[in-house]
């Protein structure tokens, strides 16, 4: 294991303070002009991205950034999440510029509503970065719940019946779920008190060192609370009920944000809490593997029967996130590495697929695969992006999904969970069937009616396909040159292992 040095740095604080300040500026002045909402949010995201990049650079040099007496602790895992969050934020804001303005009638996208949209987007990024920066087990609950509060109105953005219903479900289910996690956090904190000081008992970095001293009954109860709580946020089955509705009813860029980043915050919290106990308690590994295997298999089975494209992608997220959780839950280097690799890949792939779904909705005004089949389309860029995403998520070489899934299969088999490896491979085959079938039906089956003059059948504007193109390119580049992202993944894995080993 490489040596890691903890250094005090303001970057660890700025990464969540800056987007929060920018969100307040947008809330206050965003309604007055496009520059003050779209321009400011773009500037805020760019600065956050640069800060995240600077953090990555420090982390890759062997440092961990801390602040406020170790309450803020930015290691490789935090850096990975923060850079992914700001990258996706940039793509989403750029995509939203045209999507929001042209997708709905002007009365539904007033300047006031748009300023709320961009403000909440920045606020979400701030709260997410705070979640990833905090080293305090109870504040993790507070910040994670804040991410839920920041995204509720984004899901209900159009304020139609279905959007409001989806927002209500999301807020209620995730809040209740995360309250379970609070119980788990408090139990672990309390169980650590006999071995640590009051301040240290709140820090993940200290709890890892005494994890094996905590009574097994408390560990199992706390892990059950963590999985139910943070698993709800992550969309893990059977706590996933909010996810298909929220994905389907939110504007496409927000769906991409949900699948790409929001559910990953739940995974991040699991990696910081439940994973701490994996090396000491093998029952936790088996428990996580059972839940993850059920989630990945049932998730893709439900995706197969969906006609709504966005719901299909949402159920696929339920399935794919289980790969990530299974890998991290193994507690081994290869498992955590594979889990984080798939986390990164899933962010890119699902972001890409949901943005292409948004492009299809934008041009055809329907999410139904059956109806999409009937509409002729001249959308070569969207088609290319969708196919790249579909093949990548199915784990086809040489795309990025293949590399991370292969790592995960090997890690699961290496841990002796052959049954779980078989389920993971079977799920991957079903994913391929699901996505190839959907892609064929949407783009290649012959339309029933030839609407050659359909004005909506052309490809989307450049501001929309640019983000899709970047994500598609990343799928290819990471697939062919996985060593490019190895340093940050290795650093994130080492940081988790360091906490596990105290």
């Amino acid at each position: 294991m490489t040596s890691i040095e903890v250094v005090e740095s303001n970057l660890a604080i700025l990464v969540f303070i800056i987007p929060t300040i920018f969100s307040l500026i947008i809330f206050a002045f965003g309604r007055f002009s496009r520059l003050l909402r779209e321009g400011i949010s773009f500037l805020g995201l760019l600065i956050t991205f640069l800060i995240s990049a600077a953090i990555c650079q420090k982390v890759l040099s062997g440092y961990v950034l801390s602040a406020w007496n170790m309450t803020i602790y930015v290691d490789g895992l935090s850096a990975l999440m923060e850079i992914l969050g700001s990258l996706m934020g940039l793509v989403i804001v750029f995509y939203s510029l045209k999507y929001l303005k042209r997708h709905r009638p002007p009365e539904e996208v007033t300047p006031k509503r748009l300023s709320l949209y961009y403000g909440l987007l920045m606020l979400f990024l701030g709260t997410m970065n705070w979640t990833c920066a905090t080293n305090n087990i109870v504040m993790l609950f507070v910040s994670l719940e804040a991410t839920t509060l920041a995204t509720t109105f984004l899901i209900a953005f159009y304020w139609g019946r279905r959007g409001v219903e989806a927002g209500y479900k999301y807020l209620l289910l995730v809040t209740v779920g995360v309250t379970f996690a609070l119980f788990g956090c408090v139990l672990v904190y309390s169980a650590s008190l006999p071995y640590l000081s009051g301040h240290e008992a709140q820090l993940f970095t200290s709890i890892g060192g005494i994890a094996e001293k905590i009574p097994s009954s408390i560990v199992l109860l706390a892990c059950a609370f963590f999985i139910a709580g943070f698993g709800t946020k992550a969309g893990l089955m059977p706590f996933h009920a909010w996810l298909p509705d929220a994905h389907a009813e939110a504007p496409a860029p927000i769906s991409a944000l949900l699948s790409g980043i929001v559910i990953k915050v739940g995974v991040y919290a699991l990696a910081r809490t439940a994973a701490v106990f994996s090396p000491s308690y093998s029952a936790v590994v088996v428990f996580v593997a059972i839940i993850a295997s059920a989630s990945m298999f049932l998730g893709i089975c439900l995706a197969l029967v969906q006609d709504d494209l966005k719901r299909m992608l949402a159920y696929s997220s339920v399935s794919q996130i289980a790969y990530v959780i299974e890998g991290i839950g193994l507690g081994t280097y290869l498992g955590i590495y594979g889990g984080l690799f798939h986390l990164l890949n899933h962010t890119i792939i699902k972001g890409l697929l949901l943005l292409t779904a948004g492009a299809l909705v934008y041009t055809t005004r329907t999410r139904s695969i059956q109806e999409l089949q009937k509409i002729p389309k001249k959308m070569p860029i969207t088609l290319f992006c969708f196919f790249i995403g579909a093949l990548a998520i199915a784990g086809m070489p040489p795309l990025n999904g293949f590399m991370s899934k292969l790592t995960l299969f090997l890690a699961v088999a290496q841990r002796g969970l052959l049954w779980a490896a078989v389920i993971a491979i079977l799920t991957s085959l079903l994913t391929a069937a699901c996505f190839v079938r959907a892609a064929y039906r949407i783009f290649w089956s012959k339309p029933a009616t030839q609407l050659a003059t359909n004005p909506h059948s052309k490809d989307v504007p450049a501001s929309m396909w640019l983000g899709m193109g970047i994500l598609a390119l990343l799928c290819i580049v990471i697939g062919i040159y996985p060593h490019l992202i190895h340093p940050i993944l290795d650093s994130a894995t080492q940081c988790i292992l360091k906490i596990l080993g105290g």
């Binding site: 279905r162 219903e165 309390s190």
Partner: protein, 222 residues
């Protein structure tokens, strides 16, 4: 001992107020019951602060007083004024519901109080009054969950969520009395914002479908 008895009395009053908040069908009265329940929670924090000579817990008490006794009931009353006053008829009648609640409470009391070592990670949490406090916190958590599952009125669901959260917050006094007041303020503020957002969305739902019945929010069910 007298102080210990005071805490047990406050906890029993807290539990009775919780049951009233669940079973009263008039939403305004149920909100007042929730307000009283939260007041007892705040009093329990203050009593523990006095008993254990822990000034941080006075801040907890003050935070609970502001957020749970004043702000959340006020928000509920503001929205109840705009929405139907009576709870949407639940799936279960009053007698049946009280029977179920009694069974849930007895099971949770017997199980948690008897097998406290499974949920109490420290020896201090296993002795009175902390033991009863932890037991009652789980009972109130279960009551909150019961409301979320068995009731279909959106306002009652918010009351259920508040009970659920209050149950967890009561457990903090036993499990984490050393938590800084800023952390507790963060936890309590989250609940206020979540309750406000849920009430706002409930208002929107009522404006769209003319009802606060969550069982008819089925458009997205496939």
């Amino acid at each position: 001992m007298i102080r210990g008895n005071l805490i047990v009395t406050l906890m029993i009053a807290h539990l009775i107020a919780s049951i009233l908040a669940v079973e009263i069908r008039n939403l305004k009265s149920a909100t007042i019951a929730l307000c009283v329940q939260a007041f007892f929670l705040s009093s329990i924090f203050a009593a523990f602060a006095h008993l254990s000579n822990n000034p941080t817990l006075y801040w907890w008490s003050l935070t609970a007083l502001v957020t749970k006794v004043v702000v959340i009931p006020w928000l509920l009353l503001v929205y109840i004024r705009k929405l139907p006053k009576a709870e949407i008829t639940p799936f279960m009648g009053l007698t049946f519901s009280i029977s179920i609640v009694s069974i849930i409470l007895v099971i949770f009391y017997r199980f948690i109080h008897t097998y406290i070592e499974f949920v109490a990670p420290t020896p201090e949490a296993m002795v009175e009054p902390a033991r009863s406090c932890l037991t009652i916190s789980f009972m109130i958590f279960a009551l909150g969950l019961y409301v979320l599952i068995a009731r279909k009125d959106a306002i009652k669901v918010v009351i259920g969520l508040c009970l659920l959260e209050n149950g967890v917050h009561l457990s903090l006094i036993t499990l984490a009395p050393g938590l800084p007041s800023t952390t507790f303020i963060g936890i309590a503020t989250n609940v206020v914002i979540a309750a406000w957002l849920l009430l706002y969305l409930t208002g929107k739902i009522f404006a769209i479908i003319g009802s606060t019945d969550t069982s008819i929010l089925s458009e997205l069910r496939r």
